[in-house]
């Protein structure tokens, strides 16, 4: 990976996102340092998933720039952004239910190893070799996330906790520099949450920068290096967990939302 080793993997400047009359994100500025785990939190409707969608290319921001390794990406389509080295998971699990566990992860390799339509049809030797590399990589990842024993099972036969792990595994297959996890602990029980947290820490330990959206405060406080708090599409606080925990602005935003 010959990436330009900038200090900040991701940088947002002046990002605004409006849908019709609704301003989902307004004047967002923040940086994600290489190698950190950064969490984005905020009450429901604060714009967290919209932010993810802008970063990963589901749609371009109305205004502002998103920079990845120093190069702007806000105008790129999702598949191009994946090629650059950003991977993601989805809030409601979007696995490929019509494929096996192994095939889902193998698809994750697509951005790194591809064969053309013609080469696939004629099964040229290079195509065969690439397939072998892809399945080896995928099996390694399955081992890493603890799902090797289920590699042949249809992806939609897995319980939710394992589906979420699988989605993370699929996102890892492309060896991303930055992985964006959208509510990795949503819907999980305590054991499953613990497994997910450990996995995220292990991924980070290997050098991948992690950006995550999460509601589970225990997870957030436990694994994050830095937290960004959104409310009504604006940044209202940013800093290490201890600061955020004590911040009166943040407490008010959450309590205010409940009241």
């Amino acid at each position: 990976m010959s990436a330009d080793m900038k200090e900040n993997v991701l940088e947002l400047q002046g990002v605004v996102m409006t849908f019709g009359g609704l301003m989902a994100l307004s004047d967002l500025n923040f940086k994600v340092k290489r190698g950190m785990i950064k969490a984005i939190i905020g009450p429901n409707g604060a714009g967290k998933t919209t932010l993810f969608n802008v970063i990963t290319g589901s749609f371009p921001p109305t205004q502002g720039t998103v920079t990845f390794n120093g190069r702007p990406i806000q105008h790129l389509k999702a598949h191009k952004i994946a090629d650059r080295g950003i991977s993601r998971t989805f809030q409601t699990v979007e696995l490929f239910g019509n494929m096996t566990v192994l095939e889902n992860v193998m698809l994750g390799c697509y951005t790194r190893i591809r064969t053309s339509f013609m080469a696939s049809g004629f099964v040229l030797p290079q195509a065969r070799r690439k397939e072998k590399r892809i399945s080896e990589t995928a099996l390694k990842i399955l081992k890493f996330i603890g799902l090797s024993h289920k590699f042949k099972d249809p992806a939609d036969s897995l319980p939710l906790g394992e589906q979420k792990l699988l989605e993370i595994g699929r996102a890892l297959a492309s060896e991303p520099e930055l992985i964006c996890l959208d509510e990795p602990a949503a819907g999980l029980n305590e054991t499953e949450t613990h497994v997910a947290s450990s996995l995220i820490k292990a991924i980070n330990a290997k050098g991948t920068t992690v950006l995550l959206v999460e509601h589970d405060m225990k997870v957030v406080m436990n694994i994050s290096d830095e937290i960004l708090v959104l409310n009504y599409g604006r940044k209202i606080a940013e800093g290490p967990p201890e600061d955020i925990r004590k911040s009166p602005t943040v407490i008010e935003a959450y309590l205010g939302a409940e009241a």
């Binding site: 990963t56 999702a78 598949h79 989805f90 979007e94 095939e103 697509y110 951005t111 696939s120």
Partner: protein, 317 residues
């Protein structure tokens, strides 16, 4: 579900090889190889369509147009300009590829019934052109005198020779398509079918893929059209109407949309139904097709390919 075994393909190829000889031994089915030629021609279309509909999850109710473009380009260039039929086949496929890319690019941005309607409209427009441009196509009366095929002096002028020619191409196309399905490219296609947003997030250029498969299926249909023209030595617009596009749909639905073998089985059955078993019951043809399609849609959504699964389900209880 996806390891498409090589053994059945070999067995099937063997069956194809032996069939004409076997048919000659039984007077009642002596003429079946002729019907099989048509089945083979239609299989070329349905193999591509199956990839498009069953694996990439898109729909086209206008593929008769591509079948017709291939047929008419072959017919016009060989009859009016005396060009080499094989070259014309290639030209037909190239022209079809361009047309498919032009029509497919805006169409495949549409979803569901918008896409269906766009392909429907396109198919009918091409059909109208075949009927109206009488100077080129001969209009509703059709175009005759289309030469047959030959290679280095070897004439494909008997049913049997043409049978082996067409089925040779069918088996080649089948194997090629199976290879694609089992490759990383096939995985990307199935990913698109399951979740376009997740596929995109994993680096798959969804728009480009859809167009690619659409063009592939169109080119195969064009090839089929050329074979059709050189076999019958006569074509007319009525062959390439909306109802034929729907018939293709029925072939795939009957066989099983999510299984490439389904294309072969469904096409074979419908072709025999059409050319043989229903030939004395022509008035009932349309109702039978409608009933088959309805039955498959409501009761057997995976087509005949889904039957083994259903039977297994009974035994498990």
């Amino acid at each position: 579900m996806l390891r498409i075994a090589k053994l059945p393909i070999a067995v099937f190829a063997l069956f194809i090889l032996v069939f004409p000889w076997a048919a000659r031994q039984i007077p009642a089915i002596e003429h079946y190889p002729d019907i099989m030629v048509f089945a083979g021609i239609y299989c070329l279309i349905t193999i591509g369509l199956s990839l498009l509909m069953g694996y990439a999850g898109q729909i086209s109710i206008g593929h008769a147009a591509f079948f017709g473009i291939g047929a008419y380009i072959s017919g016009i260039l060989t009859t009016n300009y005396g060009m080499n039929p094989w070259a014309c086949m290639g030209i037909g496929m190239a022209v079809t590829a361009i047309v498919a890319a032009l029509v497919g690019t805006p169409s495949l941005k549409l979803k569901g019934h918008y896409l269906a309607m766009a392909t429907l409209a396109f198919g009918i427009i091409i059909f109208i052109i075949f009927n109206e441009e009488t100077e080129w196509t001969g209009g509703p009366d059709g175009m005759s005198g289309i030469p047959g095929l030959s290679l280095f002096g070897f004439e494909f002028d008997s049913v049997e020779r043409y049978y082996y020619l067409v089925w040779g191409f069918v088996i080649a196309a089948f194997i090629f398509t199976v290879n694609v399905i089992q490759s990383g490219t096939g995985r990307a296609l199935r990913a698109i079918h399951a979740s376009e947003s997740a596929a995109g997030a994993m680096g798959v250029d969804v728009a480009r893929f859809k167009i690619l498969v659409f063009v592939y299926s169109a080119v195969l249909a064009s090839l089929a059209g050329s074979f059709y023209a050189h076999y019958l030595n006569f074509i007319n617009p009525a062959t390439f109407d909306l109802f034929f596009s729907i018939k293709l749909l029925i072939m795939i639905a009957l066989g099983g949309m999510h299984n490439i073998w389904g294309a072969i089985v469904g096409t074979g059955l419908i072709t025999f139904l059409s050319n043989e078993w229903l030939q004395y019951f022509e008035e009932f043809e349309v109702i039978v097709y409608g009933a088959i399609l309805l039955f498959v849609t409501v009761i057997l959504p995976e087509g005949l390919a889904g039957v083994p699964g259903i039977v297994k389900g009974w035994f498990r209880r």
